[in-house]
Amino acid sequence: MTNFPSKRKSSGIKQWDHVYTSSVQNAPSHHWLKIFGAGALKGMVVTLKNFVTSYFRKPDQGGIFTVQYPEERYPEIENYRNLPFLVYDGSPDKVRCVACGICERECPPKCIYITMETDVAGKPVRKPAVFDIDYAVCMNCGICEEVCPFDSIFMDHVFEIASPRRIDTGMIRHQEDLLKSSEYLQKIRPKTATMIDEKKRAAEEKKKAVVKPPQGPTV
Amino acid sequence: MDMLSLIIKFGIYGTMALALIAAIAVVTLRNLFHSALCLAAVLIATAMIYAAFHADFLAAAQILLYVGAVMTLIIFAIMLTEQLGSKTIRQTNRQNLAALAGLLVFVVILGRVIFKTPWPVTEKALASKVTVMELGKAFMGPYVFPFEVISIILIAALLGAVVIAKKDR
């Protein structure tokens, strides 16, 4: 095993060369040593070593690194992104989304469809009436999460949603299927959730510190 | 004549019948590949008959040489020449009468030969089972000359094949 050149002082390229040039390539190949089967035997020794070490070595030292999927699971990775969901604070009807349609426009494969809710008098209310995402088309690129100015859409960690057919098997998720609580967001994305809360708290202090006249709703 | 030898006798007659049917099939089948396989069946049937008569070395040699080598080359040849194998080429050339006459003449001659010659069936030959050891000694002993001549012929054939194959390189 080649160890690491941390202690070597000489700078420049020579320093790395001896470590990284393959010992096999410049191994001394005396003529009589080069019997015909030598390379093949060395290969068999490697597979034998792997066979033997697979029984008692740890996974990354040559042991078995299979994860038996349904029983054992891979540790959850926080930044993993798969298929967006909407966030609501408290009860499902207080949705953060204001149906501004930026994510609908920016989505590359165009799989989001939003219509704004209008109250009795026909004046648009800043809440989405219909918010559909076609899970079959979405390529979970995470652009909707980036562009959303109101932190209302996030990428989920659920990936076991296979379905037998592409069309009319519930892959088009409507608003009620997409809604998930902000505690769920806190559970799966702790870092981003805490960052959003600090940003919100900073915005409140700024607003309290500078009492500005409230402007009109910005469209 | 207890039951076992009866069964064996029927077995032998069965294989002979099988050999005969397969031989006829070789000639009459349209698809060349099928007839090649029937030829293999004939050869295996003869090997079985040899085995039944306790000539086991001959049976093994028959299978090894004919079925293992000759048949493989015949089938190799059939597979290589594309048109020969797939299309069913007309094999009969419409001269049934001449063929029948030839057949009759042949059967008559064969019959006379079989019944006329006195087969020297001695008791000792029937009883003794020729082992491979004696065959080996015979090859190296009295029959060493024909053995060497055959090997020379085989080498000549080998060189001929190499020359033909090399010609188009």
Binding site: M1, T2, F4, G12, I13, W16, V19, Y20, T21, S22, S23, V24, Q25, F36, G37, A38, G39, A40, K42, G43, V45, V46, T47, N50, D60, F65, I77, E78, N79, Y80, R81, N82, I102, R105, E106, C107, P108, M139, N140, C141, G142, I143, E146, V147, P149, M155 | L80, E82, K167, D168
Partner: protein, 379 residues
């Protein structure tokens, strides 16, 4: 008696190594005319994975098609993003802060490691080694893909680069994890080479097979390890010196004869060079912002990112060759023309010239050693 011409031409067999073939690395078809086992002619047929990537890119904004570039060469998404980011930065004149440049180089070199071991694994698979080298390679590939997942969010479809930097910063755990991989990689390479390099059967099958002479390679605009295996010293990291590659000490391995064995061994030596770059980059990575302040508003509103009218051609040394993006902008948020110079497609021009006269088994290995990915070839 006229001399009968006894040598009737043996009949040639027309075979399709079609879209569904276990070793064409995707939906690629070779129409072959065989005389026995020898190949008389070989016509590549493409288009089975054609998604008209360039027309899609002309209907969506610049930032949106960054997600589509992951699907070009789906084996290493990081280098595709890198090339697209460089092209757009050249078009719009955005500079990239120091730390972001280091992160980009680290990600690109990790992607090169992943690509080279996977290619060698599949090359051995085509040669008949029953998945053993491939699974040893996948064991290392898994560790690197876990890093990509922690950093960018997805193992293969990373979508990690942004114009002027990267989407997310590398935390200290990420850096230590990468250092761990780099530290243990030479040991893995030793074992991999012990299994393969001196293996007689591999030498028999690969040496003097599919020889690509240097002048034919240059004339057919071949780039990447295939070109360097023929002995031509042309590596865009050294030639253009884009990003911060000028600061790192690394060398360019060159082959001798340009046959399948050279292409295999040049890739192994290139992995060793990438390790040197990674080691130096991990040691010298500075603190600082990971995304250019000026491009931050465009993250929120990609619609406002309207580069000036003009054109730009950005290219990088992707593990397969020179990956270039030719962008023409007309001042609107959508590019007027978006063209990808795909190394896999152009490296295919020599496939026929090398394969003529070789055996059927060699054609499969030659295709494996040229290392094409159909996502990039068909776009």
């Amino acid at each position: 008696m006229t001399q009968v011409e006894n040598r009737h031409p043996s009949e040639t067999l027309e075979i399709n190594f079609g879209p569904q073939h276990p070793s064409t690395h995707g939906v690629f078809r070779m129409q072959m005319l065989l005389d026995g086992e020898k190949i008389c002619s070989l016509k590549p047929v493409l288009g089975y994975l054609h998604r008209n990537h360039e027309q899609i890119a002309e209907n969506i904004t610049y930032a949106a098609s960054m997600a589509y570039t992951d699907r070009l060469d789906y084996l290493n998404a990081m280098t595709n993003n890198f090339a697209y980011a460089i092209a757009v930065e050249k078009l719009a004149g955005i500079e990239v802060p120091e730390r972001a440049e280091y992160i980009r180089v680290i990600m690109a070199e990790l992607a090169r490691l992943v690509n080279h071991i996977t290619v060698i694994g599949f090359l051995l698979n085509d040669m008949g080694a029953f998945f053993t080298p491939l699974l040893y390679a996948f064991r290392e590939r898994e560790k690197i893909l876990d890093i990509f997942e922690e950093v960018s969010g997805s193992r293969m479809m990373c979508n990690y680069f942004r114009f002027g930097g990267v989407k997310r910063d590398l935390t200290t755990e990420n850096l230590t994890a990468i250092m761990q991989i780099v530290r243990r990689f030479p040991a893995f390479l030793e074992e991999f080479e012990a299994l393969l390099t001196k293996n007689e059967i591999l030498c028999m099958r690969c040496q003097n097979v599919g020889i690509l002479p240097a002048n034919l390679a240059v004339n057919s605009s071949i780039t990447g390890p295939v070109l360097r295996a023929s002995g031509v010293n042309y590596d865009i990291r050294k030639v253009d010196g884009y990003s911060i590659y000028k600061r790192f000490d690394f060398r360019i391995p060159l082959g001798e004869k340009g046959d399948v064995y050279d292409r295999y061994f040049v890739r192994i030596l290139e992995m060793r060079e990438s390790l040197k770059i990674l080691y130096q980059a991990l040691n010298k990575i500075p603190q600082g912002e990971f995304l250019n302040k000026k491009t931050l508003p465009f993250l929120k509103m990609p619609r406002n990112f309207k580069p000036a009218v003009g054109e730009a051609y950005g290219r990088i040394e992707s593990p397969k060759g020179e990956l270039g993006f030719y962008l023409v902008s007309d001042g609107t948020p959508q590019p007027w023309r978006y063209h990808v110079r795909a190394p896999s497609l152009i490296n295919l021009t020599v496939l026929e010239d090398i394969c003529i006269g070789q055996k059927v088994a060699d054609a499969i290995i030659i295709l494996g050693s040229i290392d094409i990915v159909l996502g990039e070839t068909d776009r």
